[in-house]
Subunit: 117 residues, 4 copies
């Protein structure tokens, strides 16, 4: 099961962990910017042989078991760094979940709570 | 965390569960066909309002913590059914993992062991 | 413009060209199988350094200027061969268009007419 | 052929056209930010029934016939606006090409020259 193989660590010590930076509080259905990246603290290699292929971004609303797919960002090796600032909007409070994939070191995730007020 | 929100049920009773059909035993690095779909037993709707957006296929080798991404299959609503037969090859024994996403009902997964002999 | 840089050649002599195999005539909105691949006649390499990354499949209905996206099939290098059989359905007659991307040799396309009768 | 069906218009009058904003001159292999969006001048709808599904970004180097895929940015309807700022780097001068897809109004493209000095 994926829950057993997706890795979770502190991004300050482990270069594969995706980070999610955005306001803690946002307006309902109002566009805001979310910075999603791998390598915020420690840069990950970006070569054909070893790179971050993509980051998926999901929103898990607090009162809803059905995960919503906010975006998938794919990066061509060498030319595309695993870093985007995306424009998103949320209807309700919940937890953003980022899932990233390194072609060598597999799946990594991170989360950030966002309150819709 | 994604492990808490990806759903796992019996595909015979729950129409969202992806299925993985392929031989139990394959040759190392030899191409074989894997049937990956949502709706094998109970058809899922396929409308703009409600459809399966994509299925991801991963291989988790038995002796390797790093999940390898085999393919992502995306389906245009209405015209694309969530069903592909893909050609893949494996170096070592492991577990295929399929992850699917319904635009309304979220994330679902299933697994199948494959022995490389 | 993309029309200037997407390459079109005979798949029998050029290993990058995607092929589309399916019936010439199908029923309206009835599921059929379409074989989409790169390497039907001449196998393309499949290594981390050199591989087909994805194939997009579109339908251009005869009487409609708006191209519909049927599917995108992405292949993990080495483990995923650039070959799927997808299940699709069409409302009206038109032309299927496949676009493939090699990480070294760029964009290639091919088309196949399908009559809905 | 895709070159016949991908539409090209002025983004100031047509809401589907992707825009590419970045410096005209960049350093070789040095990361810079590129703003890629649909709706810079006129907002496109973002509903389940009608939305921009994805934007692809390519680089066509001046002296190279092989198009390089820089990134694909996919947007979940309603929650994901078709707008990212991506971090990329280029080895040589060339033309960035953006291709976007509306689920109703098909394929649209735009280009921007970037000099590597
Ligand atoms: Fe890595
Ligand atoms: Fe559903
Ligand atoms: Fe090639
Ligand atoms: Fe539109």
């Amino acid at each position: 099961m994926l829950g057993d193989v997706i890795k979770i660590k502190d991004f300050k010590n482990e270069k594969h962990v995706p980070t999610i930076d955005c306001p803690d509080n946002v307006q309902p259905n109002e566009e805001f910017e979310v910075d999603v990246q791998v390598g915020k603290e420690i840069k990950h290699p970006n070569t054909v042989e070893h790179h971050i292929e993509w980051i998926d971004l999901f929103i898990q609303y607090d009162d809803d078991p059905n995960t919503v797919h906010v975006g998938r960002y794919m990066f061509g090796p060498v030319v595309g760094e695993p870093h985007v600032k995306a424009k998103i909007k949320l209807a309700k409070s919940g937890t953003l979940i980022a899932l990233s994939h390194c072609n060598i070191h597999g799946l990594w995730e991170n989360t950030k709570k966002v309150s819709v007020v």
